[in-house]
Subunit: 205 residues, 2 copies
DNA sequence: TTTTTTGTTAAACAAATGATTAAAATATTT
DNA sequence: AAATATTTTAATCATTTGTTTAACAAAAAA
């Protein structure tokens, strides 16, 4: 049988699943080994330590959550309205596959803020320069609303898209819904969130 | 000197701070003892175990985040618009004092969904009966928009209010803002979020 | 004051856990 | 095939960590 997936990859995938669900402190190397179906010692053979393996998983998770979106938001050749649609679609697609990513990252940052200072450090005065922020600023002027910090709308977009996934287990309990219901609920938001955001900004459909 | 605060309370307060920041797995009993300035053995003397102490902290955190809000949302004698204002104000007040609560609860639920089945279990078909859901449903009909699940607006309200706190450390990094800036940003949202929600619902100011 | 109860401390225990080692199995090279 | 290198395994090590114990101190009751 040709088992294309190498042992090294099996370990990383298992680590990803468990780290993302339980966090660094809540994960035991033995859990990862069991999930991967390999001997405990192989973890230290391929990756030097639990910490090192975690670094890799975290790095990739950050990349998943930020890199594509960052590119979209900074694209000078798409309209604000297109950006809104794209971001919502990208996030919902990603989080349907991998709903634990947001809490994983946020939780680790909250537990260990120092470790992330450098990792997520954004060059000073870069963010305000990003295309979408400028476009939101313009739209605020155009629509004639009172001046507001453009970041509010970015936060709204991300909040309304990501938060339902971050609170998925709680939502399911509170709303008495199963997985299927939850997916349906989120798919409705795929259309609704962009409508709401555009409406906030006074953007016509 | 009359030190009103009893040893037992000192331990619980220290536990609350550390548990809420690091989570159950990330917290060592020795950290709690040090933070409380007491001998390690006193933790097991007053509370039987780390687990039992955690239960108490979690119980109180859930109560903080849910009980008052639940009461507000289910109040038959306030308008929908009033409820929106009240919820946003209550949450922002609470989270300014205690910004780690949301991630704490959500993280523990994600790490250990089973433990919370019973704890947060809501009586079947209770949620749809709650006053605010009915009021939102009515407003949806009145405003003449296409029929939508009223829960979307509850989720929007909670997302836009709570998510900025859940992502506070990351937001600060990404937006290059300090604590003072963050508070200002959140205070702006105290006024803005209700406006946006009302607008989504076609509610006049 | 004497006795008893309650609170506190330092030390130690036992289990859990990340990591290592040395040998065995498997694959690759010569 | 023999030799070498790589991968895997079982056992063990060393540290961390939740908990307990036994002695001591302080407070309350007698």
């Amino acid at each position: 049988m040709e088992n294309d997936i190498t042992t090294e990859e099996k370990i990383k995938e298992a680590a990803r699943r468990i780290f993302q669900q339980k966090g660094f402190a809540g994960t035991r190397t033995r859990d990862i080994a069991e999930e991967a179906g390999i001997n405990l010692a192989l973890l230290n053979y391929y990756y030097r330590s639990k910490e090192k393996l975690f670094e890799i998983v975290m790095e990739e998770s950050l990349k998943q959550l930020f890199s594509r979106i960052q590119w979209v938001l900074n694209n000078e050749s798409t309209s604000l309205s297109e950006k809104i649609d794209t971001v919502v679609n990208l996030y919902i697609d990603l989080l349907k596959e991998n709903p634990n990513i947001p809490l994983f990252i946020l939780g680790e940052v909250q537990a260990n803020p120092d470790k992330f200072r450098k990792k997520v450090g954004v060059p000073d005065a870069f963010m305000p320069q990003i295309a979408v922020v400028r476009q939101i600023g313009e739209q605020i002027r155009i629509s004639g609303m009172e001046p507001v910090d453009p970041f509010h709308f970015l936060v709204n977009l991300v909040s309304m898209t990501i938060f339902p996934f971050a609170s998925k287990p709680l939502l399911k309990l509170l709303m008495n819904r199963n997985d299927e219901d939850f997916i349906r609920f989120v798919e409705e938001r795929r259309k609704l969130v962009p409508v709401w955001i555009r409406s906030m900004l006074g953007l016509k459909e």
